[in-house]
Structures are given as structure tokens and as C-alpha cells.
């Protein structure tokens, strides 16, 4: 069993590390839920519900408060033809299969008005979208210039439609038919189940949103430019003078370090220690061949010693500063200036990747670096806590052995492997 204060500190560190991991996981889960949902089938906002069959009249009334433009009508015409063809193809298939003959003749007539419904997806009732834009700014899905996209859509759509129909039949009523209590089976023309994969490149952000977003980026750009403009020179001097006066008026001799600065200093010194140690190991490992190299080695080692002395001195200065007051309650020092705010350019920062593989590599490396730095920190903490325990128990012998074994595995192999201890019995 470990002593109480050691236990407390170890538990605090380890639980902190576990909580940090859990927090990351929670955030990831949130984003994962969103992404998974987006890649299933869903309805873009403002589109007519893709239930094309029963009650098409009531649905149609909700959908198209205005009259479609002539171009849209032409489009509808073409698409209707494509759909009718698709239905004919399916008729042939379903005749061979389930044989729901009765609804079929109706399906022809149902198809036409029904297709106007899903087609609202494509040819936006531009009228419809105008009308709703005057209402609350709801996102509305519009297509791009139909003339441009249309020739490609036509051959695609029938293919899409039939495959979707098949898919919807095989996967069951599912997606497009959720509001339909009595959906006619098989003869159902394609519920226009929207999937990002097939229709993703037809999406367009709502106009109100686009306007707000562009204004936002313009204003942020303005913020960074006003900082660097020349007229800010007088303001900068005024601010500096004010700070100076504050310092003088407070009666302190020098500027106090903020907590964040102090932490940065400590980290700097930690980095210094590591670099100095590396250098020392290089020098000690090298075998000097002539007296010049011996001299160099000696002078370097003594120089390193002096630098370590300076670092220790600086550390003691920081300690003295800190004596003026302990760290405040529950106030993480970095909370007030998280990263990204030191960068003066508040404009858009992009990270460009070219393939899924690259993105995954980047993300995995990112996590690996975070994990390794946590491991290094924990290793130091464990060393500081556990090594003294082992050395204290050494002379006692047997009671310390399980502890030695556990400590060795934790410190030297990250808990993955264990040493073996054999009792050395004298023979005979």
C-alpha cells in the first residue's frame, strides 16, 4: 500500500488524465452523431416531404404556394417523362415479381402529380422559396442553374430512380414513407429519399445565411486590418502610456508576471533542461581522440553546468514571485488566453487535405502527440512518487518485491511487461 499523500497525488494526476480523455471522447461522439446522420438519408429543409403518393393534393398545397416558372414546367415535363419510363420498367419487373396488379393502373396517374412533389426538390419552386424567404429565414434547398445541370440529370435520374426504388423496396418502407399510414406497396414511385451521396452537390445554402456569413468574414478581416493601420499608432502610444502610469501608480518596482507567463517560463525551463541533458549525453558518449577534443568536451560540459545553474536561479526567482500568493481557487491559468488568440490575423485559417487517408493520418498523429506528451508527464510524476518508495524499502527485502516488480513494469515498460524474480536458493 502506498502512503496517503503519495496516493492522493497519484490519484489526482491519473484521474485528471482520464477525465481529459473522456472530455475529448464526448466531443468526438457529438460530432460523430452529426456526421453519421448526415450520411444517411434525410430531408433538406424546405423541400416538400418526399412522400409522393397518398394525399398528394394536400401535400402539394403546402409545397407550392406560387406558380412554377415556365422553365420549371419544362423541366417537370422532361422529368415526368423519365419517371414514366421508369415506372414502365418497374411494371415489367413487378409483374414478374409480387404481382400487385391492382394499384398499377392507378400508379400511372399517381405518378404524374406525385412527381411534381419530389421534383420540387430539384426545380425549386423558386416561387416557393421566395415566399418562404419573406417568412422566417428557413434554409431552403435550391438547385443550381437547371439549364446547366439538366442534361446530365436526365439520364442519371432514371437510373437513380430505379435503383432507389429497388433499394427502397428492398429496405422496406423506411425513409420516404414515414408519414404515410397506408402506403401502397411496390407500385410506389420513388420516394425521393435524399442522400448526400447522390444529391449532395445540388445543395445550396440559404441566401440569408450566405449574406450573414460573408458579412462576418468581411468584418473579421476589417478587425485585423484596423489593428495594423497607421492611425492606430497614436492609440498604441496612449495605451502604453496608460499602462506605464498604472505600474508607477501602484508602487511596485517591476511588472508582475501573470500566471500564464509564469507557466510559460516553467515550460521553457523544462525544455531547456531536456536540451541540456541531450547535449550532455552526446558529449559524455563521444570518445575524444586528441587533446583538442578533450578540451572541447571539458569546456562544453562546464558551460552546460553554468547554464543549468542559471536555469535554477531563474526558477528560484519565479518561486519568490509566486510566494506572494498561491494559485487561485479553481482557476486554470490557461483559461484566459487559450491558443489561437495570440495570432493577430483573425481571418480564415484553412487546413487543406487531399484525401481521406491524409486526413486520418493527420488526426491520428495529432492524438499520438497529445498522448505521448501526457505519457511523458505521467512518467515523470510516477518517477517522482514511486522511486523513493522502492529505495526506501530496498533493505527490507521480501515485502518490497511485489512493489518493485509493479514499479518496474509501470516505469520502464508503460505497464506492458513484467520482470521476473527468482528466489536464489542455495543448493545443498
Amino acid at each position: 500500500m502506498l502512503p496517503a499523500d503519495c496516493s492522493r497525488r497519484l490519484l489526482a494526476e491519473l484521474r485528471g488524465a482520464l477525465d481529459a480523455c473522456a472530455e475529448r471522447q464526448r466531443q468526438l461522439e457529438r460530432s460523430l452523431r452529426v456526421s453519421r446522420r448526415l450520411l444517411r438519408a434525410w430531408e433538406p429543409v424546405g423541400s416538400p416531404t418526399a412522400e409522393p403518393t397518398l394525399g398528394p393534393d394536400t401535400q402539394k398545397e403546402e409545397l407550392s404556394p406560387g406558380t412554377p416558372s415556365p422553365q420549371d414546367l419544362k423541366e417537370l415535363e422532361l422529368l415526368t417523362q423519365a419517371l414514366e419510363k421508369a415506372v414502365r420498367v418497374r411494371k415489367g419487373i413487378s409483374k414478374a415479381g409480387a404481382g400487385n396488379k391492382a394499384p398499377l393502373p392507378k400508379s400511372g396517374s399517381i405518378v404524374t402529380p406525385a412527381t411534381t412533389a419530389p421534383l420540387q426538390l430539384r426545380a425549386p419552386g423558386r416561387a416557393g422559396s421566395h415566399a418562404s424567404e419573406t417568412k422566417a429565414p428557413r434554409g431552403i434547398c435550391q438547385t443550381k442553374a437547371p439549364a446547366k445541370g439538366h442534361p446530365q440529370h436526365k439520364p442519371l435520374s432514371s437510373g437513380d430512380r430505379t435503383s432507389q426504388e429497388r433499394a427502397s423496396r428492398t429496405t422496406g418502407p423506411g425513409l420516404g414513407l414515414r408519414d404515410q399510414a397506408t402506403a401502397p406497396p411496390a407500385a410506389q414511385p420513388a420516394p425521393e429519399a435524399f442522400t448526400l451521396k447522390e444529391k449532395g452537390n445540388l445543395l445550396q445554402l440559404p441566401a440569408a445565411f450566405r449574406k450573414a456569413a460573408s458579412q462576418n468574414s468581411r468584418l473579421w478581416a476589417q478587425m485585423s486590418s484596423t489593428e495594423t493601420s497607421d492611425s492606430a499608432g497614436a492609440t498604441a502610444t496612449a495605451k502604453a502610456q496608460f499602462l506605464q502610469k498604472m505600474q508607477v501608480a501602484s508602487g511596485l518596482c517591476g511588472p508582475r508576471l501573470s500566471a500564464a507567463e509564469m507557466e510559460a517560463e516553467v515550460r521553457r525551463l523544462q525544455k531547456a533542461c531536456w536540451l541540456l541533458r541531450l547535449r550532455m549525453q552526446e558529449e559524455v558518449a563521444a570518445a575524444p581522440t586528441d587533446w583538442k577534443q578533450e578540451l572541447r568536451c571539458l569546456l562544453t560540459l562546464e558551460g552546460l553546468q553554468a547554464m543549468v545553474g542559471q536555469c535554477l536561479h531563474r526558477l528560484q526567482e519565479l518561486q519568490a514571485e509566486q510566494q506572494l500568493g498561491p494559485w487561485p481557487v479553481g482557476l486554470p491559468p490557461r483559461s484566459l488566453s487559450p491558443c489561437g488568440e495570440e495570432d493577430p490575423s483573425w481571418g480564415p485559417r484553412l487546413l487543406l487535405y487531399s484525401s481521406t487517408q491524409e486526413l486520418q493520418t493527420l488526426a491520428a498523429l495529432r492524438l499520438r502527440v497529445a498522448m505521448l506528451s501526457q505519457q511523458v508527464h505521467l512518467e515523470k510524476v510516477l518517477m517522482a512518487e514511486l522511486l523513493p518508495l522502492v529505495s526506501a524499502r530496498g533493505p527490507q527485502g521480501l515485502p518490497g518485491l511485489p512493489l518493485c516488480r509493479a514499479v518496474h513494469s509501470l516505469l520502464c515498460d508503460a505497464g506492458e511487461r513484467f520482470p521476473t524474480i527468482l528466489r536464489d536458493e542455495p543448493t545443498g
Binding site: S7, Q222, V266, A272, C273, V284, L318, S354, L378, E379
Partner: protein, 430 residues
């Protein structure tokens, strides 16, 4: 008092409304800050201006995640928090610490504190960036957020541990294993998320109104799916735009404010020089800072001892050698040359940690943009470069970890060697 003309505070060369306008812009940029009248009262240290300013400082200084929780604790807790946070930032004036905790006084001191925060750094930009509406799928490549994650959980766990708890080493092993498992889960979730995001970007190619971005982000696609979310996002964007406009206006009129603040500072009674700053006796719940300090101090001292142990015998050997040679003139020039070379090297080494941070490293969250053609070169950070930088960091960290583990191995072998009657067989490999 109410009939006193605002012109009394008029600084030469400014229009009569310029200062209130500047302050109004500042308040709008801070999102619902106190009115210019409150500021004016604060200059004369009127008590009625104090509560509004305490609340403003509380809002400005608390991190967004904790603001809600702390706000419910009442005005005394807010006052204590503001005092602690300003101390943390290095606020120089001791008068702040002496203000009563019921939040009824000290409006002039608070006004000075606010001005101090504004003067020291880009406070407005930082506040706006903290709550900035993120439209893209963001990823950070620097490590600053790691510290934020670790720091966020620092205060609480220690509270849950009873003071006299003894822990078995096996519990420690179990916790370490649990940590390893959690990291593994994290990595696999992250890989899935990357794959999904990549698909979303791929499928929405060509949709974005901004040609330079090229495709929608998951956030933007989500708002096409979810009308409520879309409304909220739009509202948030519009609010942010309003604050940004106010901040731009403030920037244009700042100078008048600073001239006025000079007069405020002058109207303060002068501090007695040499008055000892009162330390704040707050119970130390988390000792992360001092622990860090302790670790570094221990490392440096150990290093110094090792250097001494390495240098002393070499110096002795050298002294013995040199006795015969000091007469040779050529030798002394060589000696000086070697000395200079060593000094230069050491100075360069010191530069490696003296440099304030790594300037080349990009900070902060970046918006992910899929771009196969390379058409967006120059507009952002390339994933390949970020990967390179991360790999070198990974290598450094691995070296550091191996070195620490090697140290432990040696130390344990030494300690265990003192036990007699046992054979110690370390695990194979590595």
C-alpha cells in the same frame, strides 16, 4: 449631479458626444455592457456604478464553460473570482484586493482594471474569438488545446479524494491500463469521424458560394437538414456581426477613451509607495502549478549533479595534462579558438529555448478544406506540412520517453541489486 454637463469630461479636440459614443460602442462590442453613464459615475467612484462593473469584469474574465455555473453562486463569489483572476493576470494595483466583497464599492478601481485589460492585449478580439461562430469543420494542429484539456479537469479530481486514502499499486496499474484503453477508443472514433467528414466534403463538392472553399462543411450541411439549428446559427451569426461592427467603431474612436482614462487615473488618490501588497490567502485546492515547478526543479538539480560528476574528472585529467604544455604559444591560440567555438555553440543552444515559442507554428483551429487539385495553394496550411511537423514532434517525444524509461531501468537495477538472495530478470526485448 444629473444636471452636470457631460462636457466636464470633454477632452480638448473631441466632439461633445465622441466619448459617450466610444463607450457605447465598447459596451455593444462587449455584448450588453454598462451604459456610458455608468462609466462616468465610475470615474467619480460612485457606489451605484460598482455592481454593473463587477458583473462586467466577471463576464469578461471567466471562461465560457464555467461562466454559467459560477454566475449562480452569487455576487460575493463573483467578486472573489474577479479579484483572483486579475491577480492571476498580474494586475499591479493592490487597491483592488482591498475592496469589500459585497460588491458595493470600488467602481473607479474596476474601471481602471477594465482599461488595464483593454490596454494590455487584444481583449475584444479575444472575447469575440472565444465565442466565434465556427462554420467549418475545425481541427487544431498545435498542442495548446491539450493544456486546456488537462487544465480543465485539474481543480475537481483532487476534491474527490479522501485525505487518508491508501492506494494499492495495483489500482495505479489498473488506472494506467484504463487510460491506455481510452486513448485507443479515442483514436478509432477519430478515424471514423475523419472518414465521415471526408465523405461529406466529397459529396458536396461545388456547392459553396465561396469558390475558394469549394464544398460545404458538415456544420453547414447540418443546418440544411435541421431548421431549428439553422435558425439558431443564423441568429448567432447576426449577433456576432453586430458585435463586430461595434468593435470596429470602437477601434476608430478609442483614442478619446484613453485620454479620458488618463484623467481617471489622475483623479485617484496616490498609492503610498512601498506599501506591501496583501497576499490573498486562498485555500490551495489544486497544486498543479507548484507541482510542475517542483518537477522541473528536481530535474535541473539532478542534471547539475550529473554534469558535475562528468566534468570533474575531466578537469582533473586536463589540469594534469596541461602542466607540461602551457609554455607553448601555438597551444594557447588553439585553446582560445576552441573556447570561442564552444561559447558560440552554447549560445546557439540557449537560443533554442530562449526564443519565445515557435513562431512558425500555426495556432488555433483551422477549417478543413478538401482540395485535391492544389488550386488553393498559399491560402492555408497544407496537411502534408502539418504531418511532417507532427512527425518530428512525435519523434522528439518518443526519444524523451525512452530516455526516461532508460533512466528508470538503471535506477531500479541499482536498487534491486542491493537485495540479496534474488535473481532479477528484466523483461526481454526493446
Amino acid at each position: 449631479m444629473g444636471r452636470r454637463r457631460r462636457g466636464v469630461d470633454r477632452t480638448p479636440g473631441a466632439g461633445s458626444g465622441a466619448l459617450p459614443e466610444a463607450i457605447a460602442a465598447l459596451s455593444r462590442a462587449l455584448s450588453a455592457g454598462p451604459s456610458p453613464e455608468t462609466f462616468r459615475r465610475a470615474k467619480f467612484d460612485r457606489p451605484e456604478a460598482a455592481p454593473a462593473l463587477w458583473q462586467l469584469l466577471f463576464r469578461v474574465l471567466s471562461p465560457t464553460t464555467q461562466a454559467g455555473a459560477k454566475a449562480s453562486q452569487g455576487p460575493e463569489a463573483q467578486v472573489r473570482f474577479v479579484k483572483a483572476a486579475l491577480r492571476c493576470q498580474g494586475y499591479p494595483r493592490p487597491a483592488l484586493a482591498q475592496l469589500p466583497e459585497d460588491g458595493s464599492q470600488g467602481s473607479r478601481e474596476l474601471l481602471l482594471a477594465l482599461a488595464w485589460l483593454l490596454a494590455r492585449g487584444p481583449l475584444l478580439e479575444q472575447l469575440l474569438a472565444r465565442t466565434r461562430v465556427r462554420l467549418g469543420d475545425e481541427m487544431t494542429v498545435c498542442e495548446c488545446e491539450d493544456v486546456a484539456y488537462d487544465g480543465a479537469s485539474v481543480g475537481l479530481p483532487a476534491l474527490c479524494v479522501e485525505p487518508n486514502l491508501h492506494v494499492d499499486i495495483r489500482h495505479v496499474q489498473w488506472l494506467m491500463g484504463k487510460l491506455r484503453l481510452r486513448w485507443r477508443n479515442l483514436v478509432s472514433s477519430q478515424q471514423e469521424q475523419c472518414a465521415l467528414l471526408s465523405k461529406v466534403h466529397l459529396y458536396t463538392r461545388g456547392c459553396h458560394s465561396e469558390r475558394s472553399l469549394g464544398h460545404l462543411s458538415a456544420t453547414e450541411t447540418e443546418l440544411l437538414r435541421d431548421p431549428d439549428g439553422s435558425r439558431q446559427l443564423l441568429q448567432a451569426l447576426e449577433q456576432e456581426n453586430a458585435r463586430l461592427e461595434a468593435a470596429v467603431q470602437w477601434r476608430r474612436r478609442e483614442l478619446i477613451f484613453w485620454q479620458w482614462m488618463d484623467t481617471v487615473l489622475d483623479s485617484c488618490p496616490t498609492q503610498a509607495p512601498g506599501a506591501a501588497p496583501q497576499p490573498m490567502f486562498l485555500p490551495r485546492i489544486t497544486d498543479r502549478g507548484p507541482r510542475q515547478w517542483g518537477l522541473v526543479a528536481g530535474e535541473l538539480q539532478a542534471l547539475q549533479e550529473q554534469l558535475q560528476a562528468a566534468a570533474r574528472p575531466r578537469r582533473a585529467a586536463w589540469e594534469a595534462q596541461v602542466r607540461g604544455r602551457s609554455q607553448d604559444p601555438a597551444w594557447s591560440t588553439t585553446w582560445r579558438a576552441v573556447r570561442q567555438a564552444v561559447d558560440l555553440e552554447l549560445v546557439a543552444l540557449q537560443g533554442a529555448w530562449d526564443r519565445s515559442g515557435t513562431p512558425a507554428q500555426p495556432h488555433g483551429p483551422h477549417r478543413l478544406v478538401r482540395s485535391e487539385s492544389g488550386a488553393l495553394a498559399g491560402r492555408g496550411l497544407w496537411a502534408a506540412e502539418a504531418i511532417r511537423a507532427l512527425r518530428s514532434k512525435e519523434a522528439c517525444l518518443e526519444v524523451a520517453l525512452r530516455q526516461l524509461q532508460g533512466q528508470c531501468r538503471q535506477e531500479l537495477a541499482r536498487l534491486v541489486g542491493t537485495l540479496s538472495g534474488f535473481i532479477w530478470i528484466p523483461p526481454p526485448g526493446r
